[in-house]
C-alpha cells in the first residue's frame, strides 16, 4: 500500500522498473489522488542514464583467442611436464635396453654354461647323475638313467597301472620332454634332451618316439642348435685370447654373473608386462603401460 511515508520508494522502484503490476497500479492510483507528486515521478524517471553507443572497445581482436585451448601452456607448467617426461624417458630407455638382443657378454655367459655342462655331463654309460641346484634336472636325469629294461619297467610300474612295455617307455620319454620344456633355458636339460636320442631303447620304441614328436621337443632341439653354434665360436675365441687359464675362468665367472643378472632383468620385465606406471604431477597424470 502506497502511503506518504513510502511513496518515494515506490516512485524510485517505478523508475527502475522493479514494481509488480499490482504495485504499479497502487502507485498510479496514489498519484492520481495526489497530482502534485507527478513532477517528482517525472524527475526520477529523467535521471535514467543511457549508454553512449559511440564509445567502443577499440581493439577487440586483442581479446580474441585463436589458438586451441589445450595448447596454451605456461612456461612454469611446461617445466613440470618436462620433468615428468624426463622420468618417463629414462624408464622407457631402461626398458628398451633390457628388451634389446642379448649382448656379446650375455652370449658368452650362455655358451660358457653349455661348455661347463659339457665337461661335467657323464657319458651315457654312467648311472648316477645329480645336480644339486635343480631338482627338476635331477629327476629328468634319473628317468634317463640307462639301466636294463626291467629296471625301467619296474620304476614306472610303481606309479602307473600295468601297461605294455612300449607305452611305459613312451611315457618316460614324454616326461623328459615335459621337463625339458619347462626348463628350456637350462642348457643341462638341453643336453639331456640329446641324450634321449642316444638311449639304447629298442628300435620299435625309438620309432614310437620319432613318430610322435611333440612340438616342445622340436623347439628344444632347435634351441639346442642355436645355443651350441655360438658356443663353438666362443670356445675358439677364448682359446685365441693370449691370457692364462685363471683369467679365462675369471671371465667365465663374470659372464655367468652377467647372465644371471640378465635372467633377473628378464624376470622383472615379465613381471612388469601388462602393468601400468602412473606418474602424477599436480593434476596431470602420465600413464606408462608395459
Amino acid at each position: 500500500m502506497v502511503t506518504w511515508d513510502n511513496y518515494e520508494e515506490y516512485i524510485i522502484m517505478h523508475a527502475d522498473g522493479e514494481l509488480s503490476p499490482e504495485e504499479e497500479t497502487a502507485l498510479q492510483a496514489f498519484i492520481a489522488v495526489h497530482p502534485e507528486l507527478k513532477s517528482e515521478l517525472d524527475a526520477y524517471s529523467a535521471v535514467k542514464l543511457t549508454p553512449d553507443t559511440a564509445v567502443v572497445f577499440a581493439n577487440k581482436e586483442s581479446l580474441l583467442k585463436t589458438a586451441p585451448a589445450g595448447r596454451v601452456i605456461g612456461f612454469p607448467q611446461w617445466r613440470k611436464y618436462s620433468i615428468a617426461a624426463g622420468v618417463a624417458l629414462l624408464l622407457g630407455l631402461s626398458l628398451y635396453k633390457w628388451n634389446a638382443t642379448p649382448s656379446v657378454t650375455e652370449t658368452v655367459a650362455k655358451n660358457d654354461t653349455v661348455r661347463q655342462i659339457n665337461n661335467t655331463l657323464p657319458t651315457p654309460t654312467q648311472n648316477n647323475i645329480t645336480n644339486a641346484t635343480n631338482p627338476k634336472i635331477e629327476n629328468a636325469v634319473t628317468t634317463n638313467e640307462i639301466k636294463p629294461q626291467p629296471v625301467i619297467t619296474k620304476q614306472h610300474n610303481t606309479t602307473t597301472a600295468p601297461m605294455p612295455h612300449e607305452a611305459t617307455a613312451h611315457i618316460a620319454v614324454k616326461q623328459n620332454n615335459a621337463t625339458i620344456a619347462s626348463n628350456h633355458e637350462n642348457t643341462a636339460v638341453v643336453r639331456l634332451a640329446e641324450q634321449v636320442d642316444k638311449l639304447p631303447i629298442e628300435e620299435n620304441k625309438m620309432m614310437a618316439i620319432s613318430a610322435e614328436p611333440t612340438q616342445q621337443n622340436a623347439a628344444t632341439l632347435a634351441y639346442t642348435a642355436v645355443v651350441e653354434e655360438p658356443a663353438k665360436q666362443q670356445k675358439s675365441f677364448l682359446d685365441q685370447l693370449p691370457i692364462d687359464e685363471l683369467k679365462k675362468q675369471g671371465i667365465e665367472s663374470m659372464a655367468a654373473a652377467v647372465a644371471n643378472t640378465y635372467q633377473h632383468i628378464n624376470n622383472l620385465k615379465h613381471n612388469l608386462s601388462g602393468k601400468t606406471l602412473t606418474i602424477q604431477v599436480e593434476k596431470r597424470k602420465l600413464i606408462l603401460s608395459f
Partner: protein
C-alpha cells in the same frame, strides 16, 4: 564454455564492458585494462562459466577491478570521461547527468550503471556486487535521490 563461446562474448560484451568501466574508473586507459583483465579471467575460468552466465561474470570481475583500481589510486574526485556525446533531443540533460554521476561514490555509480546501462534487476546486481538485495536497493535509492536532487537544482539555476 568453449573457445567459440568466449570469442562470441568478446564480440558481444566488450563494448558494453568498456563503457561500464569508463564510467566506473573515469579513465579510458584504466577502463581498457579492466576490460582486458576481465576477459583474461573469463578465459582462465571458461571451464567453470556457463555461456549464459558469462556477461554477469564479466561485469562482476570488471566491477571488482574498477572499485579496487579506484580505491588503489585513492582518487578524491571523479574525472569526467573524455568521451561525451549529446542526444539531439536533450543535449544538456546528458551532460548534467554525467556531472551528477561524478558526484557519486564508485560503488553507487557502479550500481546505477549496472541498472541503467545493462538493465539488471536488483537481485542480479546483488550477485554481481556481492551485496544483499536490500543493500542494493538502499544504495540505489540513495543514488537516485542524489541524481534527482542534482538535476532539479541545476534546472532551478537554469
Amino acid at each position: 564454455m568453449e573457445q567459440n563461446d568466449y570469442n562470441a562474448c568478446v564480440q558481444e560484451w566488450a563494448d558494453a564492458l568498456f563503457r561500464f568501466a569508463c564510467k566506473c574508473t573515469g579513465q579510458a586507459a584504466d577502463a581498457h585494462d579492466v576490460v582486458q583483465n576481465s576477459f583474461e579471467v573469463l578465459w582462465q575460468k571458461r571451464k567453470e562459466v556457463q555461456p549464459g552466465k558469462a556477461k554477469a561474470f564479466l561485469f562482476q570481475v570488471a566491477y571488482r577491478s574498477s572499485v579496487d583500481n579506484y580505491r588503489k589510486k585513492a582518487r578524491l574526485s571523479y574525472d569526467a570521461p573524455p568521451e561525451e556525446t549529446y542526444t539531439p533531443a536533450n543535449p544538456d540533460l546528458k551532460k548534467i547527468l554525467d556531472r551528477a554521476l561524478a558526484t557519486l561514490d564508485e560503488q553507487s555509480r557502479a550500481l546505477v550503471l549496472l541498472k541503467d546501462y545493462e538493465g539488471y534487476r536488483y537481485d542480479e546486481i546483488a550477485q554481481i556486487t556481492d551485496l544483499t538485495e536490500a543493500q542494493v536497493k538502499v544504495y540505489l535509492h540513495r543514488a537516485r535521490k542524489t541524481l534527482k536532487d542534482y538535476l532539479v537544482s541545476v534546472e532551478n539555476i537554469l
